[in-house]
Symmetry: C2
Subunit: 229 residues, 2 copies
DNA sequence: TCAAAAGTGTTGGCATTACACCCATGT
DNA sequence: ACATGGGTGTAATGCCAACACTTTTGA
């Protein structure tokens, strides 16, 4: 067996090693008004209103995760469905930004800052600095997760219709979904329970309502944890 | 369309926001002597030789990727098959460590530092600080990649036998592989070309040798790029 | 009454799994 | 000669994509 170091002397940094300020930003995904949206911050710039990703800096005694939780709290989001770190992006001589992405149940929590709002992902164009790269990374990770786990259901309201879920999948993946196959997959999975109610909220048509089968869903929690990386 | 900020005033940091020193470490995987191994650094500690992951600190003008490349260079590794960032691990009040993992063609490059050596992954026990978490993360990412892409072939010597590839898969995934099914998969994929040679190097038995079909393999480069996240 | 959208059923193909088996060879 | 490990073939399975189809319902 290989013996490894259990405690090590404190490293002394020579001047050539820089220390940096650490920025945190978070791509917050939510399903709002039938659309996949991202939480953005309004910023006054030369009298014009423009948008950027929510961001903060790491404080003393905080981990990156702590700082991100704080960032969410400050926006009125007490809890997220899922939160994970993305790559750290380095802008030499400027700063290091650790990206994150979060999934939010927008039925449970509403943002409390007038400077923020939900922006449809198709509207997001050119972000400044490295924020586009981080956004793309978040979207790619969301796509991967949504294809391999049932987590998308948690983005929907507690009572939802299958066409609504299909609409969400299409928004996230950016492709058309085959309706019969999606129904088979979802209903066959036992993730959802059918309710004795019908809805007119999503479309003008009435549709059967379903709700998450928590017991079955929770048995997949360990699989969802894999998507931390 | 939403307008976004294209340039922003420099942020002034208040004293409550800390700046940190950024450590880099890298889990370097290689296939050596029929085993999956990781590059470790010998460290004198109270007269005993112990092992740790290769590490450095980010210098001025460097990105995390730059620093990792430098770390590899300093060990004699000019090029890697694959290199990707892992999560940043935060130890409050101490430092931030950005993990990386690299795959190395050990036939092409040999380490030039007497303080380093290749350690079988099954021998790696308790690492100090957060290095275990980073190691587990690297291994999980490697497993995922190896299951979904043919990259494992690139870890092998230029000429290799199928039982050797099978052995590598078993070492990485930690499970038994069904021999007939693996053969079908690999040979059916056209990733490999059969050579008119036989080998006695891997086992005492003679086996047919194969080599990577670069043209076919390269058509999957874009898929491999997905594993940056 | 008609179009659009909800909802159902059938099919074929592809990939994965399990496993039985033959063959070559080093001891 | 025989055990070990290299190498081959086949059948069962399950998943997924494609698509034809019926039913409902709001306008």
């Amino acid at each position: 067996m290989i013996k490894t170091v259990s405690n090590r002397k404190r490293v002394k940094l020579s001047p050539k090693f820089v220390t940096n300020e650490i920025a945190i930003n978070c791509i917050v995904f939510g399903y709002v008004g039938g659309n996949l949206k991202v939480l953005m911050v309004k910023e006054e710039n030369d009298g014009e209103n423009k948008w950027r990703l929510p961001a903060t800096f790491m404080k003393k005694n905080e981990t990156a995760n702590d700082a991100t939780q704080r960032l969410l709290q400050e926006s009125g989001i007490k809890e997220s469905i899922f939160l994970s770190q993305l790559n750290a992006h380095c802008d030499p001589n400027r700063m290091i930004t650790i990206g994150h992405y979060a999934l939010i149940d927008t039925e449970k929590y509403s943002i409390n800052k007038s400077t923020m709002s939900w922006i449809k992902i198709s509207y997001i164009q050119q972000l400044f600095y490295n924020q586009n790269a981080i956004f793309e990374e978040a979207l790619m990770r969301l796509k991967r997760m949504v294809q391999d786990t049932p987590i998308a259901i948690k983005l929907l309201p507690r009572k939802f219709a299958l066409p609504e879920l299909m609409n969400l999948y299409e928004a996230i993946l950016g492709v058309e979904i085959d309706k019969p196959n999606l129904r088979k997959k979802i209903l066959g999975s036992k993730y959802v329970l059918q309710l004795n109610e019908k809805s007119y909220s999503f479309t003008y048509r009435s549709t059967k309502l379903y709700t998450l089968n928590l017991a079955v869903f929770n048995s997949y929690d360990s699989k969802i944890a894999d998507y931390d990386f």
